[in-house]
């Protein structure tokens, strides 16, 4: 598939894997950017400093680079030290509308198809578009609207999953069917989904549930047998905004939402602080989330082996409460679980990491690995085979990538 760049040999790759993380960390400790490369002709920085990334099965790093009017895609075969030329996704200029809680997404399937999801202002603000490339980014399909009712209902906060067969799932917050219980609060929307594959195209939109807190990003992951699981902040009884799990059952029906976490956060507000989920190969769901509930305040970790019916307790508190720990991400690879989050000391944003080698029972001490002053995206964890990478995008330093694998 990779026709227009030279693939490294296996021995070169081995050296690359050994040296690159060391080099990247060394760069960081000397205050230089770990993996910043020139942004070609885009200007100095991505729109709001937000970049999306994913590893292809062959180890190529892909990044999606938004500007005011366009979405570009580039790849790197040297872990982000240099990038290819840019490939434009949207042929017509659009007003790109993204923010840290509503970032664009890039996902590479097992077959090497590049899937891109982004937001632009059209009839509705921040409307979702999808496009894909089967020729390593050289050409992209005409961007299509994800929602059937994009002209009349806002749809945003999307998640995109690509299963092992290449089937794409889209999940999003949708403002249609606004018959939510007004007594519970404001900003309550529905969660919709659709699928796309080459054989059947895009299915009609289907509603999964109402009662979704509109401004907190919903998290999704696939089970070992390729079924999607959703972790969402919902507006529950008495207006409590706690987290629930929903999953696609074997009969292809969606389960009822199971309230997995009881924080008792009774508030009618926009927290703009969504959760994250990662499922290991034995089916354990690892969860991280933010709350200012009666029971606890801050960011927390817990896991469940039955999709929310029983959850490890008490939740593990993450970070220094005096430094506003927030926007956590989680990644499970076999028995290893990796966590990251951001903290702010009034001047600079620090990125922290912590790991477990026994599926979330015991934990290392947390440590700071990156920091910057200025605007930044939320930190993300990326899987590259058995390796865990931390990806962080900032206005000041661009894209930074660190291997945080604990062998």
């Amino acid at each position: 598939m990779l026709k227009f760049f030279q693939k490294p040999t296996s021995s070169q790759l081995t050296w690359l894997f050994i040296l690159a993380p060391l080099l990247l960390t060394a760069c960081q400790s000397t205050g230089k950017t770990a993996s910043l490369s020139p942004y070609h002709d885009h200007g100095n920085t991505a729109l709001k400093g937000i970049i999306a990334t994913d590893f292809a099965p062959d180890g190529t790093l892909w990044r999606l680079f938004p500007t005011e009017k366009n979405i570009f895609v580039e790849y790197s075969t040297d872990l982000g030290r240099s990038f290819s030329q840019s490939f434009k996704v949207n042929p017509k200029k659009q007003k790109i509308n993204i923010w840290a809680e509503n970032p664009p997404i890039i996902k590479v399937s097992r077959s090497g198809r590049i899937h891109v999801l982004y937001y632009a202002d059209e009839d509705q603000r921040a409307t979702t578009y999808f496009s894909y490339s089967d020729d390593q980014g050289r050409t992209f399909s005409t961007p299509m609207l994800v929602s059937d009712e994009a002209a009349t209902a806002m749809h945003y906060m999307d998640q995109m999953l690509v299963d092992s067969t290449g089937k794409v799932y889209f999940f999003w917050h949708d403002t249609r069917h606004g018959r939510h219980d007004q007594k519970l609060g404001s900003g309550i929307v529905s969660l919709y989904y659709t699928t796309f594959d080459s054989l059947n195209g895009r299915l009609e939109d289907q509603k999964i549930t109402g009662g979704i807190c509109s401004c907190c990003r919903t998290a999704t992951a696939l089970t070992p047998d390729d079924k999607p699981v959703i972790l969402a902040r919902m507006v529950l009884e008495k207006g409590i905004r706690d987290h629930a799990l929903i999953r696609l059952l074997d009969n292809n029906q969606w389960s009822k939402p199971i309230q997995a976490i009881t924080d008792d956060w009774r508030v009618d507000a926009c927290p703009e602080h969504g959760p994250a989920i990662s499922i290991d190969d034995q089916g354990r769901s690892h969860l991280v989330w933010f709350t200012l509930g009666e029971q606890r305040q801050g960011i927390f970790y817990a896991h469940t082996d039955d999709y929310g019916h029983h959850v490890s307790h008490p939740p593990l508190a993450l970070g220094d409460p005096s430094e506003l720990p927030g926007h956590p991400d989680v990644l499970a690879i076999d028995n290893r679980v990796y966590l990251t989050w951001q903290q702010f000391d009034g001047q600079q944003t620090d990125i922290m990491v912590q790991h477990s080698t026994d599926r979330g029972h015991s934990w290392s001490k947390h440590k700071q690995v990156l920091s910057v002053s200025g605007r930044s995206a939320h930190p993300k964890l990326l899987r590259k085979n058995k390796k865990a990478f931390l990806m962080w995008s900032t206005e000041a330093k661009g894209l930074q990538l660190i291997n945080i694998t604990h062998d």
């Binding site: 609060g185 309550i188 401004c215 507000a269 926009c270 927290p271 506003l324 200025g374 206005e395």
Partner: protein, 165 residues
């Protein structure tokens, strides 16, 4: 000729009247939205020293904030001398929409600001080092500048209780 003269004078009269009203209206609306930078918040608070003050942080995309505005309008009508400062946490490029929203909600004569630091977190931290950014976020100051912060939409009864101290 006379008719034409009359029409002309009438037109001038109407035009002058319209001009007068439009000037008066725009003066009443006083809807300049200021850019909130590091230090601005402290200035806002200091300017109201010795008086009660309410500062409301909100966003054009926050449904809870937009609902809260109905209560703010009621309080403003009942207590027109109570200073209520509206601070939008949206990007400064959204200023036209911020102003249009305030106008639509009948709040365009309130003092209005919009975040103008690219790193919004730094600005929030300066305002309140314990604030994660959830909105609406309201601060009630008494005449001695004691501050009480509360997150989320609250009822009119809550407003009156907080204003009573």
């Amino acid at each position: 000729m006379t008719n034409a003269m009359t029409m002309s004078r009438f037109t001038i009269f109407i035009s002058t009247l319209l001009l007068f009203f439009s000037v008066t209206l725009s003066a009443n609306e006083a809807n300049t939205t200021n850019a909130l930078k590091l230090g601005s918040y402290q200035t806002i608070v200091e300017q109201q020293a010795g008086h009660p003050l309410v500062v409301v942080f909100w966003s054009i995309t926050c449904a809870s904030c937009l609902k809260e505005m109905a209560t703010i309008k009621e309080i403003h009508q009942e207590q027109p001398h109570l200073p209520i400062v509206m601070i939008s946490i949206d990007d400064i490029s959204e200023t036209p929409l911020v102003q249009a929203t305030l106008k639509d909600k009948g709040l365009s004569d309130l003092e209005s600001w919009v975040f103008a630091e690219s790193n919004a977190q730094r600005l929030r931290y300066e305002i309140d080092s314990k604030w994660y950014g959830e909105i609406p976020r309201l601060y009630f100051f008494d005449a001695d500048q004691n501050r009480r912060g509360i997150s989320g939409k609250i009822s009119k009864a809550d407003w009156l209780e907080l204003l009573a101290g």
